[in-house]
């Protein structure tokens, strides 16, 4: 459809007629060239009062938000910054410094996976039923227990007798003797009788272990996978983040049941050592012995 006549641009009052563009002098073309080449700019912390409140405003790179924020409570749950259209080429001349949430939250706040357990049905059957949703670490290695026993019983029939021998090694690693009595603590399915001797009075080291000991002492047939070596000191909730790292694995392991560790005894036994000269194969897959003479 034919466009309507254009609205007249407001006429500024130029002293002369509209200035003609200056002839492109050497200086000017040098200037234009350097613009087209681009220049590297420094990053800056922006105190941006104009940005949307959710996830973009305030001081960039600075965690503290000025008091002004309190007068602008957010009304919109999804973060507003849309990602740019991509009809043309994107040519950011400089790297971005702003906390680009960009379109990160354009679908709304992401729903985080609850730690420790995918199935929501299994709520931690702890004696102290926490009213808060499972958001903090002490989670349910316990609730992951139920799936384990069905498979566990089939295995330990052989290694079970070895348990007592392998465990003391673990025990020696942990500095605290209180938790580990002479009898092996891990309540392996085939040895539930050994479980109760676990002294229930041992200071529950971490929230996550409370259910273990209580379950164990209740002597029910619910079996649990052998727990990692118990932590060395009384609980300080919340569990410090350092406990998640591999470095501290031996001390206070609490991996939320994500990894179902089995006792070393579950591993197959190594080959018996026979000694004598070793006969190598001639080549990959060949049965002809290698002769180098």
């Amino acid at each position: 459809m034919p466009p309507a006549p254009p609205p007249p641009p407001p006429a500024p009052a130029p002293a002369a007629a509209a200035p003609a563009p200056p002839p492109v002098t050497k200086d000017r073309s040098a200037l234009l060239n350097s613009i087209q080449k681009g220049t590297k700019l420094k990053k800056a912390q922006t105190n941006d009062r104009s940005a949307p409140i959710v996830g973009g405003g305030g001081v960039v790179g600075d965690a503290s938000k000025a008091g002004g924020r309190s007068t602008k409570p957010s009304g919109a749950p999804p973060v507003p910054m849309p990602t740019s259209g991509s009809a043309g080429t994107n040519e950011p001349p400089i790297p971005a410094s702003a906390p680009k949430l960009g379109g990160l939250f354009s679908q709304g706040m992401p729903k985080l996976r609850k730690v420790g357990n995918a199935s929501s049905a299994a709520s931690p059957p702890q004696p102290s039923k926490s009213s808060t949703p499972v958001s903090s670490p002490p989670p349910p290695p316990v609730s992951s227990a139920p799936p384990i026993p069905p498979s566990a019983p089939s295995i330990p029939s052989a290694p079970a007798p070895r348990v007592p021998t392998s465990l003391p090694q673990k025990i020696s690693r942990s500095p605290s003797p209180t938790k580990v009595p002479s009898s092996p603590p891990p309540p392996i399915p085939s040895a539930p009788s050994k479980a109760p001797p676990l002294p229930p009075q041992s200071a529950p080291p971490l929230g996550s272990h409370i259910p273990m000991s209580s379950r164990v002492s209740s002597g029910n047939s619910q079996t649990l996978p052998p727990p990692p070596p118990p932590p060395s000191h009384p609980p300080s909730s919340p569990i410090p983040a350092s406990s998640y790292t591999l470095q501290h694995r031996s001390d206070k392991v609490d991996d939320h049941g994500r990894f179902q560790f089995k006792d070393d005894s579950y591993l197959p036994q190594p080959r018996r050592f026979r000694g004598g000269p070793k006969i190598y194969r001639g080549s990959t897959g060949s049965t002809v012995p290698l002769r180098l003479d």
Binding site: I35, A44, S86
Partner: protein
């Protein structure tokens, strides 16, 4: 000019980019302005009848009876220098914590700025701020520079106006500048009429003491419990301008989170296939917006599509045309040799250009209008650059070695005398 270059090169520079909505302050050579303040300020009538200006980005939100919210900038051009100077002082001295006497000042201006305002800008910088050096650049030219281009067509979708400026070799082509009042504020009017069509009663943030809370149901089959919102009593004596200002925040939030434009001309069927979006109002009430959010997004490309029923009279400006036609006219006003380069270097700037789908739609419509040309609508990689594009261009320009000889020094200014208007026209192109 060359005699100044020796001392000027050593002085660091600041860039001030005054806009209708926001004024940006920062250091040249940095990639974003460190301080962004609202251009609005409050005015309170004192007991003796004297007017007190409240230039404070926090205070203007306080519900003070009798405080009017106004703006020193009208139509993009600085009109009130007293409040503008206060704002600049606040930005520079209080926020940026610099002493203006030690910095060269790069100020941006709209492409349609008047000579008298140019002159006043220069005078303010030299005589009120006592800066040692000064330059004035057009915002459109800066936007082109921010994308490393010397020739481009800048489409600036702002608060008040949508402007299209062709920039050729770093110069804004005056004959190609077109502008119309179909921009952020026009969208706001349409959104307000949508809300009233949906019977949503919008209460601004300052009235809400506590949002309504939805307590999740305790089990399947149990309904959710809703604790209603708690409101503060309404305060007498608040001015209309203040109320409009506060309501505007909600409209801005709505635009930022919900508004979208269809990539093709509006079609109910296509719009209904897109996901609806929720919006939560300050009092906690939640509404879902489906097709309507695309309806609002359509008005830029079709002003007569507006929510006519509930719009106040004369909201749709006369002679308003579609965005793509506006762009097309601007290009047609330029010489034919330059047109293809303009078509393939279209740059969108301004906060209103951040609407999702807008870029694609403009590309589509323009390509339809000009099938023989290669149409390329560029966007910056990040939204923060889009709204700060003109500041950014100023920062780039002021930090280039090849630019340093162009600064206007205090010495030069002192020597000019009366013909300052002509002088600034000549020196600051």
């Amino acid at each position: 000019m060359s005699r100044n270059s020796a001392n000027i090169v050593e002085i660091p520079a600041l860039v001030i980019d005054p806009g209708t909505c926001w004024t940006r302050f920062g250091f040249a050579g940095e990639e974003s302005p460190e301080v962004i303040l609202p251009s609005n300020y409050g005015v309170l009538q004192g007991e003796n009848g004297e007017r007190k200006s409240i230039v404070d980005e926090l205070q203007i939100h306080a519900p003070i009876p009798g405080m009017e919210i106004t703006n020193g900038i009208n139509d993009g051009i600085i009109q009130d220098w007293e409040s503008t100077l206060q704002l600049w002082n606040r930005g520079l001295k209080d926020k940026l914590k610099v002493d203006p006497t030690e910095y060269a000042m790069m100020i941006t201006e709209p492409s349609w700025n008047t000579q008298s305002v140019r002159q006043q800008t220069m005078e303010t910088v030299f005589e009120q701020l006592h800066a040692p050096a000064f330059y004035l650049t057009k915002q459109a030219v800066c936007a082109a520079f921010a994308s490393n281009k010397a020739t481009a067509l800048i489409v600036d979708l702002g608060t008040d106006n949508t402007t299209v400026t062709p920039v050729v070799d770093g110069i804004a082509m005056r004959k190609g500048i077109v502008k119309q009042k179909i921009a952020g504020n026009f969208l706001n009017e349409n959104i307000k009429s949508l809300f009233s069509k949906m019977s949503i009663n919008v209460l601004p943030h300052y009235r809400v003491a506590r949002k309504s809370i939805v307590i999740e149901s305790s089990g399947p089959g149990n309904p959710e419990e809703v604790k209603p919102a708690v409101f503060y009593d309404s305060i007498d004596g608040l001015t209309d301008s203040y109320n409009d200002f506060q309501n505007k925040r909600i409209l801005e939030e709505w635009k930022e989170s919900v508004l979208e434009t269809l990539e093709f001309p509006f079609d109910e069927l296509k719009a209904s296939t897109k996901n609806p979006k929720h919006f939560e109002f300050p009092d906690g009430s939640n509404y879902q917006f489906g097709i309507d959010r695309f309806r609002v997004g359509e008005v830029l490309f079709n002003p007569s599509f507006a929510f006519r029923d509930n719009l106040p009279e004369n909201t749709v400006p006369e002679n308003a045309i579609e965005l793509h036609n506006l762009v097309y006219q601007s290009i047609l006003a330029c010489e034919s040799e330059i047109r293809s380069q303009l078509f393939s270097n279209i740059i969108l700037t301004g906060g209103t250009s951040l609407i999702p789908g807008l870029t694609e739609r403009l590309q589509f419509e323009l390509q339809r209008l000009a099938p023989g040309n290669r149409v390329n609508v560029h966007t910056s990689g990040d939204s923060i650059y889009r709204s700060n594009a003109s500041w950014l261009g100023g920062s780039i320009l002021a930090s280039l070695d090849n630019f340093q000889h162009l600064w206007v020094s205090k010495q030069e200014y002192d020597e000019v005398g009366v013909d300052r208007g002509l002088f600034v026209e000549k020196r600051c192109k």
